[in-house]
Symmetry: C2
Subunit: 208 residues, 2 copies
């Protein structure tokens, strides 16, 4: 396969897998809403592992894990707003409705427990996800923004602060560097998302 | 502004600026085709700085800079295939046609020189870009893939290898780490793109 002008042979990305609203490859970062015992929908981040079936992992005793066990599934959604991803990944959010206003696409999933493993003191559970009803709400041409990527990496780094096995000083230096990329390359939403990373974590943004 | 369920108030991203096929914010990474003296279109990477007008910078005596001067513009395009971005950024590519098969959107631009500054031994020229004819070729719901972001960051790091003012050992460690993210989170296109980063640079991918 050649991408680019020399060849001229090029195919668009693989189609979405059966029942899913968007193409999936490697690990696609999504947002998952699961209904809690209080009847509200808990909103969290969930990495979708492409495959047949699609799988996902929960780390430790999270609300997503507990609600998967109680309810047998939830609603996966795909957001392009970096603030929505940060909120899902780093804060406890509950909503009356399962689908976020910022979701570009969503799909109901059944989650079936398939096994677990231990990593340090954390139990990692694997789930098979079977898609149900879903919808593409909003489409556009893809654009590349380094600031957007920096926000996603910052949520990963911030979620590891204080976790055994990760070096806090390294993570903080990384967050400082990612904040610089957001300042140089991001738009207003990326800057606001990075401020939310700071607000939701022990990391403080360096003064510019 | 609140993204997410708590508020429910949410607006889609700003519309595309007048004449542009896609929304722009901060610095949007694009591909630029410019017609060379041999009649072929040179394909390179170009960061678009949002604003009115949109601007871009060329670093040193690149083909894009020379062709902007000769021809007064080129064709900006937006690609979602990471291989196409790597090829544009790190290799010399020439094409018979200005629009890549992988372009999701494209727009002709006039480029007007507005000034220059020196950074070390490099002359950085700033250009105002005025959009002309253009088209959105392909749309989809946005998905988030950390492997994709890692490829973009890897092109930046690889382009700095051997450049004064950057630490080669740091850049190589960064590239190793980005290759790990591509392995864990990317799809087939990201893995192929990362192999192209290695092929086009002095960096060698560590064995896994």
């Amino acid at each position: 396969m050649t991408a680019g002008p020399a060849g001229g042979e090029w195919e668009p990305e693989d189609a979405a897998p059966d029942g899913w609203p968007v193409p999936l490859r490697g690990v696609t970062e999504s947002v998952i809403a699961t209904k809690g015992p209080n009847g509200l929908w808990n909103v969290a981040a969930l990495g979708l592992h492409a495959g047949d079936p699609v799988t996902a992992e929960t780390y430790g005793n999270t609300r997503t894990r507990r609600n998967f066990e109680r309810r047998g599934g939830g609603v996966v959604q795909f957001v392009a707003d970096p603030r929505a991803f940060v909120d899902a990944a780093l804060t406890i959010r509950e909503a009356d409705d399962p689908v976020l206003p910022s979701a570009d696409a969503w799909v109901e999933v059944e989650a079936a427990f398939v096994g677990s493993r231990e990593e340090g003191e954390t139990t990692i559970r694997e789930w098979e996800l079977r898609p149900g009803d879903g919808e593409v709400v909003r489409e556009g041409a893809t654009t590349i923004n380094r600031g957007f990527g920096a926000v996603i990496e910052a949520t990963v780094a911030a979620s590891r602060l204080g976790v055994a096995g990760f070096d806090d000083a390294d993570l903080r230096a990384r967050l400082d560097s990612l904040a610089d990329v957001v300042d140089r390359c991001g738009g207003a939403r990326e800057r606001e998302a990075m401020a939310r990373v700071a607000a939701a974590s022990e990391w403080e943004r360096p003064e510019n």
